[in-house]
Symmetry: C2
Subunit: 427 residues, 2 copies
């Protein structure tokens, strides 16, 4: 088929009529499908059921150094968990704090602590007139929700296939001392699935921020979440690069096992420099006596080591790869060449990012919703839920069963085409 823009009004109207008929068929199916959130599906969760047997009443719950994991103590996590998560994050165990069940919570706490107590002796952010964060867009809505909640001004920075526009990042952070942070999902980014290039990581490590308390919030959410055995993205390790660049304290790196074992019942971690660790522990010792060591031990006993975790991730990939491919195939079959949108084809992570013609995203998501398919809200990949182009839609293929997913993807492409034609006819 030729691009819609090259079609005559008559051709478009004819196409629209046939699409509307198709759309109505979907409406009659009374669908209740959800492509909105990056949730593992049941089969993925089943992969970790063995973890429920890793500990039982006959098992010794002491860790390697003899500490009884059942009792109070061990503020920063048990050593063997630091080793496992260190291998997962590509960091030295001594640079790691193991937290509770949610890396989002760790990020929230990190911002909150900077608000109330400042970073490494600098003025608490709550005492400043203005605090700003850079937000690569499209990005992760829950990141933006944290900074919005704390009244931090969010400045969008365009993403490229190689990562954020570093010319812009370098210029802004070097000129404006009220810019205190940047949200990054460096590998298989949310929602595009892009991975930062070596050069982008290198330029991040060499940033010269005007603010001494500027930090990179490096959310390594998908560090080992590959879709393919061979087509994997590799990134230089940011802590190591910052150290080499003479900027050891520049980055907070976050990760969790939420999409490895059970979301909500995994373990989260932060890796950062000794200075930052010391700064954080001053707070942490007032906040808690320690996180759930039994669950840390459960994870270690289940995986044994990083190789066990990597093998486990291959099973995840085998379940979700066909889902990504199904969506990509349907998008290609139904949309390729029409000039109505572009989508990403990531090698890992949890999302496909779809960019419609300008001004169409909200209408597409609404139209899908009316036929029973829930997408992530249009705009939610931008700060303040405001996508100035009204074009980005995050597609989350992992959760629905593949047959449902195919139906949802087909319906989605019909919605894209209808809304695009309506837009063209308007114009």
């Amino acid at each position: 088929m030729k691009p819609y823009k090259e079609m005559s009004k008559e051709e478009l109207l004819e196409e629209l009529q046939s699409l509307n008929e198709e759309y109505r068929k979907y409406q009659e199916m009374d669908l209740h499908l959800d492509m909105s959130r990056g949730k593992p599906c049941k089969e993925q969760l089943d992969l970790s059921m063995g973890m429920m047997d890793a500990l039982n009443s006959t098992v010794d719950l002491r860790c390697e150094d003899g500490t009884d994991c059942r009792n109070y103590g061990v503020l920063t996590g048990i050593e063997e968990a630091k080793v496992l998560i260190g291998d997962m994050m590509e960091n030295n165990p001594s640079n790691i704090i193991i937290y509770g069940n949610s890396s989002l919570n760790v990020m929230y706490d990190t911002v909150s602590r900077a608000m109330t107590h400042g970073i490494l002796g600098n003025t608490p952010w709550c005492k400043l007139d203005k605090v700003k964060f850079l937000c690569p867009v499209p990005g992760y809505d829950r990141h933006f929700a944290i900074t919005e909640y704390f009244g931090i001004d969010m400045i969008p920075v365009p993403m490229t296939e190689d990562g954020p526009d570093m010319d812009m990042v370098e210029k802004l952070v070097s000129e404006d001392a009220s810019i205190k942070g940047i949200w990054c999902v460096p590998k298989y980014s949310n929602p595009q699935g892009y991975s930062y290039s070596d050069e982008v990581v290198f330029r991040f490590a060499h940033l010269k921020p005007a603010a001494p308390d500027f930090r990179i919030f490096w959310d390594n959410a998908y560090g080992i979440h590959h879709l393919y055995d061979h087509d994997q993205d590799f990134l230089p390790e940011i802590l190591a690069e910052c150290k080499k660049a003479g900027n050891p304290d520049l980055v907070y790196k976050f990760a969790s096992t939420s999409k490895i074992t059970f979301p909500g019942s995994g373990i989260a971690a932060l890796a950062t420099s000794p200075n930052n660790l010391e700064d954080i522990m001053k707070q942490m010792q007032n906040q808690t006596i320690g996180h759930d060591k039994v669950n840390q031990l459960r994870h270690v006993r289940f995986f044994k080591d990083i190789h066990g975790m990597v093998e486990h991730m291959k099973k995840h990939a085998d379940i979700i790869r066909p889902k990504f491919e199904a969506v990509e195939e349907i998008f290609s079959a139904n949309l390729e060449g029409l000039g109505v949108g572009n989508w990403t084809k990531p090698f890992g992570g949890y999302f496909i990012s779809f960019d419609s013609m300008e001004g169409c995203a909200k209408a597409i998501v609404d139209k899908a919703k009316k036929a029973g398919v829930t997408m992530t809200g249009a705009g939610s990949t931008w700060p303040y839920h405001h996508d100035p182009y009204d074009s980005n839609i995050r597609v989350a293929p992992t959760y629905p069963p593949i047959e449902d997913l195919k139906v949802a993807a087909e319906l989605f492409t019909i919605c894209v085409r209808i809304v695009s034609i309506e837009k063209l006819l308007e114009g």
Copy 2:
């Protein structure tokens, strides 16, 4: 023996010599005993090993409403956990949020949120010149650490056997709008083991604070932690009393299963009014997607219901009651009538509180330490670690094996007597 104050100098010197000889015998034993923290002992932890079998790989991890506990979601906790913890806290499940593993963390977050965002639309505390908390003394060092960390001024309020001095509390909170909170351990208080009288609870519920955002931080840490079957303390339920008094939003009530199952691997909860819950959830939805539902389910499946939990607590009591009684017997046998100190005899909780003669506590704790017995640091039961009388010492009998505990208690009484005599000889 007669009171030391009635002894002649010669009698005191003779007594001192014999005590010093005894003390040296203990020094030669190369002891390493710890009565410093309120930690359950190994036998207590063993009671909950069955919880490690409550879930396994063959068990359905969906909760009663069909939610898969392994996946994301359910911000405020699964319903059956709210029912169980509601029964434990004597609150309606609908008034409860289930959190992660630490009620201390919930208290910290509650103060932190008030700092950054204020309570129910009031000015964030970080924007105020001065924020003050009332601190019943002696009290819990980790409470005081939170308020100290946030730069909140702490005003000591004397404890009585019935609870805090309510004349003082009422006067202060009604006159000073910068007083925003009070730390309470209403039942089997830390460290005295006192329980607030009905009248004290009633007066708390009827407080008329000058500050609209004044809150009672009601840490019900030992709600079902009785030592005896029949000699139990009962308190009116504070949320209900506040509601009756027309002060429904006055209190945040905290609890956890830390000293019921495994410290660090239990579940924590907050109970409060619908207005406060709504206020908290505005923050919480930015902080996390949800806490560990699998662990919530594990607790529910293990206990089944509150009766199961109560029966479980009797087993705890059977283990620690002899320890409390052993300490009390040794204190009585060695100190009664000497006029060198008083101690409490609680019906529950985790501590005995010892008050030495003024100006002796630090020296007693130091002397015990030099013979290998670690007590909670003198002063730590007061804000800023400053006990103006240098007299209160918290005794934690639960953790050491009973034979060790007896040795430690004997040694402690020797230290008390030596230091008291030295004090009297000075004066």
